[in-house]
Every structure is written in C-alpha cells, then in structure tokens.
C-alpha cells in the first residue's frame, strides 16, 4: 500500500516537479486573488449606489457568474474564442475567467459588507466634508471589510483551490505537474504528494475559518 501511494523513490524523483508546480500555484494565486478582489470591489462600489437601475443589473451579473461553473467559463474562453480569431494563452484565459467568476463572489461579499455599515457613518463622514470616494475608501470600506472578513477569507481559500482548474488548460501548476509525473511513473504517488502539499498549505486557513465561522453563526442564534 505504502509502496503504491507513498513510494519513497518516486517521491524523490517527483519532488522537484511538484515543487515547481507549487511555485506556479502560488504565483497564479497571487495574480488571481487580487484580480478577483479588484473586480469584486468594483461591483460592490457600484452597487453602493442605491438606485434600482444600478442594483438590479449588477445583481443579475453577479448571479449569472455564480450560476456558471468556472470550468465551463474557462473552456468557453479557451476552446470558444479561437473560433472568433482570438487565441488566448491558458494563463490569460484563467485570468479572465477568475476575474469574472471570483469577482462576482467577492462582489457579493463586499456588497453585503458595505450594506452592513450603518448609513449614519456615511452621513457623518460626508458632513465633515469628505467626498463620496473618500467616504467610501476611508470610512465605509474599512468597516465593511472587517464585518465580512471570514467570508472574504473563505472565498480566498476557494479561489486558491480553484487554481487547480488551470491544469485543464495546461497551466503547469501543482495538479498539472503531479499528473505529468504520475503519467510518467505509472504510480499515483505524485498525486498523493500534490494533495499533501495542498493540505499543508491550506490547513492553517481552514482551521482559522472554522473558528471564525463557528463564532459568527453562534452569535446569530
């Protein structure tokens, strides 16, 4: 059993390949998380204009991308766009897909955060002479982010896990590298190794979230 799933020789041979994959997963996460946050921030700030003709289309946009499996979006970009004469690299497709998909999730979370800040805060800030944008950036957003921090972290965890979809469009991230190593060695050890790397990397965040969420739900009862 150990020979099959945790073969020491294969671990030694596959380790550099897995490590390169880990590097790429980290880099990819460092690109797509800020990208998604940026998209979400844009959506949430637009939604804070409390006009129905702004809010409804935004909500439809967010729900559209929440209903769309990210892999479908990715394949649509990767396999569909070349037919329109637009050939994007796997990396570019991942960036666009994540911007749209995770942007919608972040946007929904940040919108809830902004809604949770009492209107009196905005009124007070505005009456001291701060502009609309200043009020949003310096008064509302810091409180909003604090109120929804567990949800933001939880979504970030999901985004990092989601970078494994990059393997489908041949991005050399952790899962892709592990599959390469597995197909060369005919042994599942590299996949176990990759899973282990994911687990070690993300477990602290999962623990933290579990505590935060328990507290949040318990506080509501």
């Amino acid at each position: 059993m150990l020979e099959t799933f945790f073969n020491p020789e294969i671990i030694k041979a596959a380790w550099p390949i897995i490590l390169a994959g880990l590097g790429n997963t980290v880099l990819l996460s460092l690109v797509v998380v800020p990208l998604g946050l940026l998209g979400g921030l844009g959506l949430a700030m637009l939604a804070s204009v409390r006009k129905p003709w702004v809010r409804w289309p935004l909500m439809a946009w967010v729900d559209f991308f929440r209903a769309f499996p990210p892999l479908v979006l990715l394949i649509l970009l990767f396999a569909g766009l070349p037919f329109a004469g637009l050939e994007l690299s796997g990396f570019a497709c991942v960036c666009v897909a994540f911007f749209l998909n995770t942007g919608a999730y972040y946007g929904e979370i940040l919108r809830a955060g902004i809604d949770s800040v009492p209107a009196g805060q905005t009124e007070a800030a505005r009456s001291t002479g701060l502009g609309r944008l200043q009020t949003m950036l310096f008064v509302v957003l810091p409180q909003a982010v604090r109120n929804v921090l567990p949800d933001l972290l939880s979504n970030t965890l999901e985004v990092v896990k989601l970078t494994s979809l990059g393997s489908v469009v041949a991005m050399p991230e952790l899962l892709f590298q592990a599959r390469q190593a597995q197909s060369v060695t005919y042994n599942p050890t590299p996949i176990v190794l990759a899973a282990l790397v994911y687990f070690v990397m993300l477990w602290p965040l999962v623990r933290l979230l579990s505590r935060l969420e328990n507290r949040a739900l318990a506080g509501r009862g």
């Binding site: 929440r66 649509l76 989601l162 994911y198 328990n214 009862g221």
Partner: protein, 226 residues
Amino acid sequence: MSNWERFLETFFNAKVMAKYLPDIAYGMLVTVELAALVIVTGLALGLALALARSLGFRPVNLLIVFVVDLFRALPPLVIIVFIYFGLPAVGLAPSGFVSTWLSLALVLTAFSEEIFWAGITSIARGQWEAARSTGLSYGATLMNVVLPQALRLTIPPLTNRTIAITKGTALGTVVAVSEILGVASSAVSNSYNPSPLILGAAAYLVLFFPMVVFGRWLETRMAWKH
C-alpha cells in the same frame, strides 16, 4: 456576409445546435443525476457526522474534525483525479461518474458537517438543560428542540454552499463523464464549431440560475429579524 452574420454563423449556428441538442439534453440528465446524488449523500453524511460529533466522544470528534478539514483544504479536482487515476493502482477502478460523485459528496459532507455543527452549537446550553429537565431524552431533545432551531440558521449558508459544490459536476468532464460540459466539448471537436459549447453554457444557466436566485431569496427570507 457581414461580420455580425459570420459571428452568429460561428457561435449560434442553428444547424449545429439542432444536431447536438439531443446530446446536450442527455448531458443535462447526467448532470442532474450526478448533482442529485451528490446533494443527497453529501448532506446526509454531513448531518450524520454533525450528530455523531454532538455525542461529545473525544477521539471520534478529533477524527471528524480532521476529515472535515482535509476535504475543505483539498481542491475537488485533486480528489477526483486521485480517485480516478490513483485507486486503479490498488485494483479499484471506479468510473468517472462514481469518482466525481464520491469526491463532490465528500467535499459537501465536510462543508455541511461544519455548517450543521455550527448550527447545533449555536443553540444555547439552557435549551438543552430545560428540555432534558422536562424529561425529554437526549435523542428527543436533539430532534424536537435543538435541530429545528439549528436547521433554520443553517439553511441559507447551506444552500449557497450546496450550489457552489454541485456546480463542480462540470469537473467530471476531466474524467470523461458525459455530463453537459463533456458532451459539449466533444461536440465542438466533432463539428469544429463552438455552438454546442454555447448551448452547454445555456444548459448550465437553465439548471443553476434558478438555484442561485432561490438561494438569494432564502438568505433574505430566513434572516433573523433583530
């Protein structure tokens, strides 16, 4: 032919769409089947684990927490790939359908256990004590007093999480499950036209958009009024 007509011809080709519509419809059926299996088994197992955890037997609880953490930290695609490509090494060869079902069900189990457990612990200690002191058994207290209140709290986050995980059925395409995306992708390479993919995307929206809107409605509906 104008550019616009060429665009329509390429991405919304009626002839190609008509040809592959039955395939996509079949893919929808597979997706629905897979989703239903994932939801039923994942939620049942999650609730069972949360109830087991409420018994407060420490070694069991540590094990549950570990398993839950494991399946929250691993990307679903990694689990699918492990089950599909890894298990044959020990003589087990689950199909792509079974691999996807098992993986997503385990992930949903982990997330729902966490949510159910948070719901159970959110019920004040006094409720337990009051119920027990009126002569209700442990089981009766759990079923008739604690769970009805706990479940109400858990429904909105549970719905959203379930939708997010169920969307993962599209991952089955990586292990050759003929669900919507798999069927659509092979139709694209057979017809050398992207229209089936557009059709597939529409099929996903038909299935999941109402669920997302329902989840949003539940969230507002079930919110506790302060």
